[in-house]
Subunit: 356 residues, 2 copies
């Protein structure tokens, strides 16, 4: 998709063997690319959320393994790199998926072969992510075409950032939005700001403007009223992990949107590529929920003209709790959109007989 | 309740005939009193939210009428003052209630008598507010005592500011919390930050610290997860208007908390003094919802050490929608706590045979 009018991916291997990412902590105020040269750089970029979104976290972890292999391609080095990356964030399962895939490809090779093979495999993981999201986009588009009413734009509500910035390209929840735009379907997107890190106010809002799609930011609190008023046609979100039974771990606040969708008879869809499904766990109760720093609630970064400032929102020294994800039970999910098609949560395994 | 360790009310008549309020737009960063000398001052204080909370808005409107009577105590002056005040904010019914009460007391008097009578009546409205909230506090305390489990603090979740700063004193939703503290019941309060104006992060957080009650601020998005995890015992909120059937208009996001309470089998109470009940309307569909400026969503005021700064959270020029209230249907409300006792929403009229 486009940044400053130019099509690009969110993560780019460089000819000097380093990797370039967009520093998403600076958006929407500043588009700044940032170079990852070491395993430590990749770990830091994931943990401080310079890269966000389960698929992009997975892709960054793959390149983190590749960077690590140049320094220490021993079995111990492979193990250490995987452990360090998996420890950065606990909820997104794509992180573990990417690390395990890299390890399974690299472990049979000699130490001398690993650096080059890792670089190739990371690139392959990125290409596959793009292909999966493009396929998912088409399945979502069919749904959107069915939901659209003649003569008015389809009003889509989303939560957090599940646009192309959350992936290598296309996005998950916003992938069908981009496919719909390409297909000429009129659209309007409600982007929930997604406190505390305000991903919605910064990333989808920035993406949608760059792509020229009509949208408005809302406080997360406004979702219920807008649904009750009939100003929303469909809710679509991404996920950090989906359990076997279709329970969904996604950014904190997703569960509240699912409840409001259900109470108002609105379709609530979750768009995920296959690697976001964790076949090893039966339900959402087994998904670890990351607790992040209280400072993300008590302070916020914002722009004042061209400079960035962090301001305090609470009394000095105020306690805050900051769980980063919640679990939406499968019973509130109308369907899961994947690269292989759309199913009700309970039939997810039908799409993945090879994995489930 | 206490500000800087000293008991005070939120609105204080001065011996020079002016009125003093806490400028709540500066909390929690700065405790600053602000003088209202004219009707225009009172209107401005209400519309820019220097005073907030339905009961305090009503009290401020009463003093606004009194200030107006000193300048023009004619029938036309009385009418003009009422119209100007009622136009400041559409949702809180206490505003209309206070204006109509002042008009009904003043209209029968001669113009010469009106200024003095208005001053007395405004003081009376304030005293009655304190008495009502103190009574409501005791009814809420009984509920809290029933809900408390031995050996652990009662974990109360609230939304927006319905503490003493929202009233003349005591508060509505937090009044039972203060009564429980006085009765020695251990408590913990989850204060939802309440985007976009962050009343929860600024006002209850500040109040509870001043009163020495254990609490933590959370992003509004976290409410559902905390309930699912069993970290909440009761949810209690105030209201800006309650319809005859028990539908509740309160700060945007209240409906989402009510849905999550219902989904998790938790009691959801609404604490309101009588003047917040609008007997003229049958249900919530008739309550006007204020749409406020998009800038409240796209920008936020915060503190950097001792100074205050407004920062931008979205891309420049980003569209935003900002409905300030939502409607919680009576079916999601466990009970309404008033100065006359606690009832299920459908039996509200039983408590007010004189008004309903």
């Amino acid at each position: 998709m486009k940044a400053n009018g130019q099509p690009t991916r969110t993560i780019r291997p460089l000819s000097n063997g380093h990797v370039e990412i967009i520093d998403q902590t600076l958006l929407p105020h500043r588009l700044q690319w940032c170079t990852l040269s070491t395993l430590a750089d990749a770990c830091e970029a994931i943990s401080v959320m310079r890269v966000r979104g389960a698929p992009l976290i997975g892709a960054t972890a793959a390149y983190g393994m590749a960077l690590a292999m140049r320094v220490d391609a021993s079995d111990a080095g492979l193990d250490h790199a995987g452990t360090a990356l998996v420890a950065t964030r606990p909820t997104a399962v794509n992180l573990r998926w990417a690390v395990e895939r890299m390890q399974s490809v690299l472990l049979p090779l000699s130490a001398q072969q690993r650096a080059a093979a890792a670089w190739t495999e990371a690139a392959c993981i990125c290409d596959e992510d793009v292909a999966r999201n493009a396929a998912l986009a088409q399945h979502g588009l069919v749904l959107f075409q069915k939901l659209a009413k003649p003569g008015q734009p389809l009003r889509v509500m989303t939560h957090c950032n599940a646009g192309w910035l959350a992936t290598v390209d296309w996005g998950t929840a916003l992938a069908p939005v981009y496919a719909a735009q390409a297909a000429g379907l009129p659209l309007f997107v409600w982007a929930s700001e997604t406190r505390p890190r305000n991903q919605g106010a910064s990333l989808p809002a920035w993406e949608l403007r760059e792509q020229g799609i009509d949208h408005a930011v809302i406080a997360d609190n406004a979702a219920g009223l807008l649904m009750r008023r009939g100003e929303v046609d469909v809710v679509i979100v991404g996920a950090d992990r989906v359990a076997n039974n279709g329970d969904v771990a996604n950014k904190i606040g997703t569960y509240l949107k699912a409840l409001a969708s259900h109470d108002n008879g609105l379709p609530f869809y979750v768009a995920v590529p296959g690697p976001t499904i964790d076949w090893r766990i039966s339900d959402g109760a087994h998904i670890p929920i990351e607790e992040r720093d209280a400072g993300e609630v008590t302070h916020i970064l914002g722009g004042v003209e061209d400079t960035l400032h962090t301001v305090r929102l609470t009394p000095q020294g105020c306690a805050a709790a900051n769980p980063a994800f919640d679990i939406t039970p499968a019973r509130l999910v109308s369907g899961i959109i994947t690269e292989r098609g759309v199913v009700v949560p309970g039939r997810l395994a039908d799409l993945y007989p090879d994995a489930a």
